[in-house]
Each structure stands twice: as structure tokens, then as C-alpha cells.
């Protein structure tokens, strides 16, 4: 598989997915006009990786300081997909990073985690500097 890199814009995040290390990073802000369209290749890539990853750990690191409601739906679909994959024996974790001042990001992280059954979903606070 090829590395997936999408440069950030003001309203869409940087995507950097490495098929070798299996470290997937989503960083920035997410409020694109058509979230489903933006995230389609992202979801597709992740699905392909999971199928090919066997026993190896896939880490999804999300550092999103703001996202809109459409993105929220996409993320829930993504986490549901990962949750199901973990139930079928795959090794996947999500690391949800938030800034200590960003109480909304923390709240949303907790919100996603409530409905997940098997997927490790880690809330990680990041301090100043």
C-alpha cells in the first residue's frame, strides 16, 4: 500500500497514513463543505490497511482541535468500523489528543468513547508548549 498524505487546508485536516509503521495521523481542523467526499478515500485506505494488517497494531492518532457536525458523523462511522474490526480480532487503537484548554475536544472524545465496545479509545491531554 502507498502512504496516504493529504495536505491540510483551513477547513480540512492533514492526513498522514504510513502503511509501514501503521501509524495514521489526522491533524488540524475539520469542517469541509462535503465531509463524506473528503473522508471517502481516507475510510477506504483504512479499510484496506486493516484487511492487510494481520496481527500488527494499527494506531490512529487524532489531533483535531475543531470539527463540524458532518465530520462528527463520519468519525462515528469510522470508529464503529474499527470497533467491529477489533471484535473480529484485529489490533487497533485510537489516540484522541486534546489541548488542556479545549474542553469541547475532550467532551467529544468522551462522547465517541461511550458507544464503543471493543476499540481502545485513549483520551490524551496535551499541555502548553
Amino acid at each position: 500500500m502507498e502512504r496516504l498524505v493529504i495536505a491540510p487546508t483551513k477547513s480540512s485536516p492533514e492526513i498522514d497514513f504510513d502503511p509501514e509503521t501503521k501509524i495514521l495521523s489526522i491533524t488540524g481542523a475539520s469542517y469541509p463543505e462535503a465531509a463524506a467526499r473528503f473522508y471517502e478515500p481516507v475510510m477506504g485506505w483504512i479499510e484496506s490497511l486493516i484487511e492487510a494488517s494481520g496481527d500488527e497494531l494499527v494506531s490512529l492518532n487524532i489531533r483535531i482541535h475543531y470539527f463540524n457536525s458532518s465530520t462528527s458523523k463520519i468519525f462515528m462511522d469510522l470508529f464503529d468500523m474499527l470497533d467491529e474490526a477489533v471484535q473480529h480480532g484485529r489490533k487497533i487503537e485510537v489516540n484522541w489528543y486534546f489541548h488542556e484548554e479545549n474542553d469541547l475536544a475532550k467532551e467529544y472524545g468522551e462522547d465517541f468513547r461511550i458507544d464503543l465496545t471493543a476499540l481502545p479509545f485513549n483520551l490524551i491531554e496535551v499541555g502548553q508548549g
Binding site: T9, K10, S11, Y31, P32, E33, A35, Y66, N68, S69, S70, S72, K73, M76, D80, E101, N102, D103, L104, D111, I114, D115
Partner: protein, 180 residues
């Protein structure tokens, strides 16, 4: 000249921090969002409140981009249909009001009222549960987004108000105001 003076007075008397009226595109939204953030910072708005204001503004703006009945064509910049709305953010005592207004079809009024009345009737806990349930369901028919925008606005505000003013037999102005 007096019209302009009247307008300036209006803006000052109403402590309007941020306003925009016109056709809206995603590009413009990015710039306006940036501008709004700066204005809030200058007004010494704390981070937590500023994030909520920004979030409500984006949801309102993207609703306008998707649904406003007032459209202009601008093929010179490759955009075929730009939807139009009005946006204000103003200070009101200790709080902020984030308001948007756009044209809607008369036949959408009932539908909008039902959704918003439903949302307003929920306690914060019920709202969180309804939000999560809605997020899991496929978008409702006729919806271009996730159908979640109003829920998002409600979650971030102390109070959500809305009004309809009939413009003509086919259209009304829909105003939505979040108090944060």
C-alpha cells in the same frame, strides 16, 4: 448619508462584533471564521466560549451554504450557486448572541419548527443522547449534511431561539439565534 449613519449607530448600539451579509462559499467561510476568531480574541472572550461561538457560526453558515433559498450565480469563480445569508455575533451583557438568517421555502417552515421544537424540549442529558442517536442514523431525506447541525448548536448554547417572518407566499425568513 443618514442611512449609513443609522447603520453605524445600529452596529454600535447593538455591540455587534462580527457581521456578514451576502452569498457564502466554503472559501469565504474559512476567511470569515478566521476573522470571527480574531474579533473574539480582541474582545477578550475566553477560549471555551470562543470555541462554542465559532462552532455555532460554522454550523449556521454551512446550513446556509446548503439550504438558503436566496441564491446567486457566479460562474466567473466557478461557483454555480452561492447561497445567501446574514450573520451577526453580538455581545449582550455577559453573553454572546450568534445569529443567522436566510430565506427558506414556505413548505420547509413546518419541518424546521418541528425539529427545533423537539430539540428545545430536551434537557442537556436528553440532548446528548438524541445527538448520539441521530449521529448513528443515516441522514434524513432531503438533508445534505448529517442532520446534526441544529443539535450541535443546541449543545453549545445556553439557549436556542428561532423565528420565521413571511416574506411572500413562497418564502419566509428563518432566523436562528444561539445565546452562549
Amino acid at each position: 448619508m443618514t442611512d449609513i449613519q443609522g447603520l453605524i449607530h445600529y452596529f454600535m448600539e447593538n455591540s455587534i462584533l462580527f457581521s456578514f451579509r451576502g452569498p457564502l462559499s466554503q472559501d469565504l467561510l474559512e476567511i470569515l471564521g478566521n476573522n470571527l476568531s480574531r474579533k473574539l480574541s480582541e474582545a477578550n472572550c475566553n477560549q471555551k466560549t470562543a470555541m462554542r461561538i465559532f462552532s455555532v457560526f460554522v454550523e449556521q453558515a454551512q446550513n446556509v451554504i446548503r439550504y438558503s433559498e436566496e441564491k446567486v450565480m457566479d460562474e466567473t469563480i466557478g461557483i454555480h450557486e452561492m447561497r445567501t445569508g446574514v450573520f451577526f455575533v453580538r455581545r449582550c451583557k455577559e453573553k454572546f448572541e450568534v445569529l443567522s438568517a436566510n430565506l427558506v421555502q414556505q413548505k420547509q417552515v413546518l419541518f424546521l419548527r418541528e425539529i427545533l421544537d423537539g430539540i428545545k424540549a430536551l434537557s442537556p442529558e436528553e440532548l446528548a443522547v438524541a445527538y448520539r442517536a441521530r449521529r448513528r442514523n443515516p441522514p434524513p431525506p432531503g438533508s445534505k449534511g448529517a442532520g446534526l447541525g441544529f443539535y450541535e448548536m443546541a449543545r453549545h448554547s445556553e439557549k436556542l431561539e428561532y423565528y420565521f417572518h413571511e416574506m411572500d407566499p413562497e418564502h419566509s425568513i428563518f432566523i436562528i439565534k444561539a445565546i452562549i
